[in-house]
Amino acid sequence: MFKRFDDDTRKVVEIFVDGRPVMAREGDTVSAALFASGLDVRRKTAVSGAPRLPYCMMGVCFDCLVTIDGMGNRQGCLVPVHPGMQIEIQKGKREIGR
């Protein structure tokens, strides 16, 4: 759906998506990095399990919810990546304690 434009000179940051290494760039939000990864990063809603991807990228819609470093339901479009970040795609409701 998206690719990076050619002249992006920002530093590469390695993050992990469901255990797989992904090269993000410094300053990316989690959602931007996930889009750029080309992976299937569709989450499933907590209501019906319908697949979703980020819709607004500005913190409004909550369709970017994702588990970041073990913490569920974070807004991927607002959180910047950091090296070694562990991201898990959420399928349905989060578990308590995660």
Partner: protein, 473 residues
């Protein structure tokens, strides 16, 4: 300097939102000697229009345009002004006593200010077409945000649909950066051109006129534009696969991986409404707007609203509204300091200039009914997955407005708290009941306007009477 929690408990002025309005307000207030705190949820300043202006990888000026880079100047100005700037700080509560709940760096705290300027800007208007929740359908603004902050450009088969000044800007920006767009579906109603005509004279002298025309021309020269689109539906199995549309009575389907939707922006009312600020239905812009005095002052003593949150006026107007609200705060708190800043008249004149021709845009780009008021099994509330028909069923058993509807169907109860369904719900119920939207009303909003963790809430100050109210046999 950027830090991650407020340095004090009390300020003269708290400005919420670091877009054009907030930057301008904070900078003027701090320069005039007010102890000023500027708060914003994003990692960097700029708001929507100047998103990531200090960090974007897209350095070549031509690509994002001069209007984008104009933001850097204001960012520099506020950084030199002495205002305390807190990025990554979400305001989740504001009350009548001007107590502000802030979540930053995983913790929450309260501060108090003598005055508050809400500069929380706008949101893209909901665009509830069939299939708008499918992966691969997103707002045009979302794509633009990804483009500005990370240099992402559409790659697969891409359709852009909608209308409005921002719509054309975004399309032009994507194309300039080598992104792929296969088709542009223009939903502007043909009869709106006639309706807008009486306001054209003012628009001709507006700063937006020439830029707007040039951009539309630029887009038309590069991709196919279908005008007069009257229906759009997205479909696919688990993701977007096809966009169907109707124009001039003809139905067409095209394969697509990405559909970008946009039909204008509307004020972001959640924080203001939760603070008890009175709003009214704006029949021209088709949204809720705060009731304001000439300085942006609201019905709640001490709270002013500036920028697009005060009613859509665009970035230039946002700057001037920010200055007016800030000057009013300076006049109230440090009357002597007011002498050093330009007069209110200067700002008002600048605002009038920036707002010139706005009515033309409002009328021309008034989104048509079928794209605002959906029917059948089209989802209205994305969070709770409630359809238009569900809402009509509730009207049929006697729900008269959004709050009873909420009780029956959970609309607006999800994490977005009605931001993406509220307007649709009001208009849909108004239509179903044959009443004006003003009479239907809006969700009653309360803190937290953005989620905070239970442990954050639990860590806030308590007192004996609060404990007594909870702990009982």
């Amino acid at each position: 300097m950027t830090i991650n929690r407020p340095m004090r408990d009390e300020y003269d002025l708290a400005v919420i939102g670091a877009g054009p309005a907030g930057l301008a307000a904070a900078s003027l207030a701090a320069q005039s000697g007010l102890l000023t705190l500027l708060l914003d949820e994003n990692q960097g300043p700029g708001g929507q229009v100047w998103r990531a202006v200090t960090s974007t990888p897209v350095k070549e000026t031509r690509l994002l345009g001069d209007d984008y880079w104009a933001g850097s100047k204001l960012v520099e100005e506020v950084r030199a002004s002495g205002a305390e700037i807190l990025q990554g700080a979400t305001v989740w509560s504001l009350d009548r006593h001007l107590e502000i709940g802030i979540s930053a760096g995983g913790g929450s705290q309260f501060i108090r200010a003598e005055r508050v300027i809400l500069a929380t800007g706008a949101l893209e208007r909901p665009f509830p077409i069939p299939g708008w929740t499918l992966p691969g359908v997103m707002t045009a603004g979302a794509a633009q945000t990804a483009l500005k902050s990370s240099g992402l450009i559409p790659d697969g088969k891409t359709v852009v649909a909608g209308q409005g000044p921002l719509f054309w800007l975004l399309t032009a920006q994507i194309l300039r950066m080598g992104g792929r767009i296969d088709l542009v579906l223009d939903t502007t109603e043909r009869r709106n051109y006639l309706r807008a005509l009486p306001h054209a004279a003012a628009f001709l002298t507006s700063p937006y006129f020439r830029k707007g025309l040039a951009m539309m021309r630029e887009v038309r020269s590069k991709v196919r534009v279908v005008s007069g689109v009257t229906r759009i539906a997205a479909s696919g199995n688990g993701r977007l696969e096809e966009v169907a549309y109707e124009a001039g009575g003809r139905s067409v389907s095209v394969p697509a991986d990405l559909l970008l939707l946009h039909q204008g922006v509307v004020p972001n009312v959640n924080l203001a409404m939760s603070a008890g600020v009175k709003h009214r239905w704006d029949d021209i812009q088709l949204c809720w707007s705060p009731v304001l005095d000439a300085n942006g002052g609201t019905s709640v003593e001490g709270i002013a609203i500036a920028g697009d949150g005060a009613g859509i006026g665009g970035a230039l107007a946002a700057v001037e509204r920010g200055r007016i609200a800030a000057r009013a705060a300076v006049e109230a708190l440090r009357p002597q300091a007011g002498a050093k800043v330009p007069s209110m008249e200067t700002f008002r004149a600048a605002l009038a200039k920036a707002e010139r021709g706005r009515i033309f845009l409002d009328v021309l780009f008034r989104p048509s009914k079928q794209f605002r008021i959906p029917g059948g099994d089209t989802i209205v509330c994305r969070c709770e997955e409630v359809t238009a028909q569900d809402i009509l069923d509730s009207v049929a058993i006697g729900a008269t407005g959004p709050n009873q509807l909420k009780a029956y169907r959970r609309t607006g109860m999800g994490p977005c708290q009605g931001r993406l369904c509220g307007l649709t719900v009001t208009e849909l119920m108004a239509e179903a009941r044959g009443k004006p939207p003003e009479e239907i009303g809006y969700y009653r909003l309360r803190a937290p306007v953005k989620p905070i963790t239970l442990s954050e809430l639990a860590s806030l100050p308590k007192n004996e009477s609060a404990t007594k109210a909870v702990v009982r046999g």
